[in-house]
């Protein structure tokens, strides 16, 4: 089963100045979203394998879209996150089926490595519902400068029988990080934490 995709949306948010300070190099976050049909809308289905396969397909597709939009090589990606908004005729577990079992592996291929957990959020919502996609460093979850979030929203989705699936990839942390903690240059990148 492959996803029935109605729309794909890609956004890039580049910050060059914050509070009067020049951000050099600018921070850049890319968000790719797919609006897909929910094959299980309106009914309870025990086995969610179909959505798990869709998650695997979208992890690679949306991850590659983000990397392409940033114009970077996969190894230059620094942080990532994922999220899903399930339309009213679906259940939260449908988002879980897409996000958790198989989306991560192809996403990690798209960004090269990715030892860290991919932070995620999910909700049920109507058209234009916004979701904040949490972000963390792809190789070391404790890197404090890369804790962030990017808002994802599609004006005309999800319809009740749709799901919005979002992936964010960045080539940077927050614009002016200065709250200490583990720094990028101190990452070991082995256990996904530090």
């Amino acid at each position: 089963m492959t996803a029935t995709i109605r729309k794909i949306i890609v956004q890039v948010d580049e910050t060059r100045m914050e509070m009067g300070q020049v951000v050099n190099p600018p921070t850049r976050r890319a968000l790719a979203m797919a609006v897909i049909a929910n094959p299980f809308a309106g009914k309870y289905v025990e086995n969610l394998d179909e959505l798990i396969a869709i998650g695997e397909e979208l992890g690679g597709l949306l991850g590659a879209k983000c990397v392409q939009a940033l114009g970077i090589s996969p190894g230059q990606a620094q942080s990532y996150g994922k999220a899903a908004i399930v339309g009213e005729a679906g259940e939260l577990e449908h988002a879980a089926a897409i996000l958790h079992p198989k989306l991560g592996a192809p996403l990690r291929l798209a960004v090269e490595k990715g030892a860290a957990l991919v932070p995620s959020s999910k909700k049920r919502g109507g058209l234009g519902t916004a979701i904040d996609v949490p972000l963390g460093h792809k190789d070391a979850a404790f890197v404090r400068s890369h804790f962030d979030a990017m808002e994802a929203r599609v004006a005309d989705a999800p319809r009740p029988n749709e799901i919005v699936v979002a992936v964010v990839v960045t080539d940077s942390g927050r614009p002016l990080p200065r709250v200490g903690g583990l720094q990028v240059h101190d990452i070991k990148g082995e256990d996904g934490l530090r």
């Binding site: 729309k7 794909i8 890039v12 948010d13 004006a155």
Partner: protein, 213 residues
Amino acid sequence: MIEIRRIFTHVEQIWHEFGPVAPVPLMRGAIAAVLTNPFAGRYEPDILPMMEALQPVGIDMAERLRAAMDVPADRIEGYGKGAIVGAAGELEHGALWHVPGGYAMRELLGWKGDAAAYAKGQGEEKSGRPGNALSIVPSTKKVGGPGTALDVPMTHINAAYVRSHFDAIEVRIPGAPLPDEIVFILAMSTGPRVHARVGGLAAQAISKWDGLR
């Protein structure tokens, strides 16, 4: 005078809207530049110097948007523009975008008109098919807070009455504009609405090349 704080690009591919799936998806895109509003917090009588200063900003934005859409300029069939002014500014500051925003996309799309006459708002005598991007670029603007949504209207680039290309794209930048910011927006599309079927002037039937029909 020009200080760009953020650049936000948005590109969508649309395969269907619950009708027949398009073999080639419609693409729509928007680019928003978040600028410092140099006139925030006061009434400034002479704001025209900024209109001139925005010219290269617009040209750069149009090219960035085309690149983000990843299509050649000759695939662009629809366009529009808009502005969102932060709370410490006035609507008139958004109006500064009319000339540079419109001109920017014309430059990209192969317009052959007189830029000086355009800047003054004068018409021109035209005959035959004088290049591309003949239609007035439709626009909208508002004053709003961070995350305000603006529906940017779009029309066919050569004839404003082409009914299949009347469209709008919602543009919203989380966190912008701050009170002392202005967001300037350009929007472009590669074709008609995905299931356009309400008749009217068709793009193939453009004949007057006057920007209208």
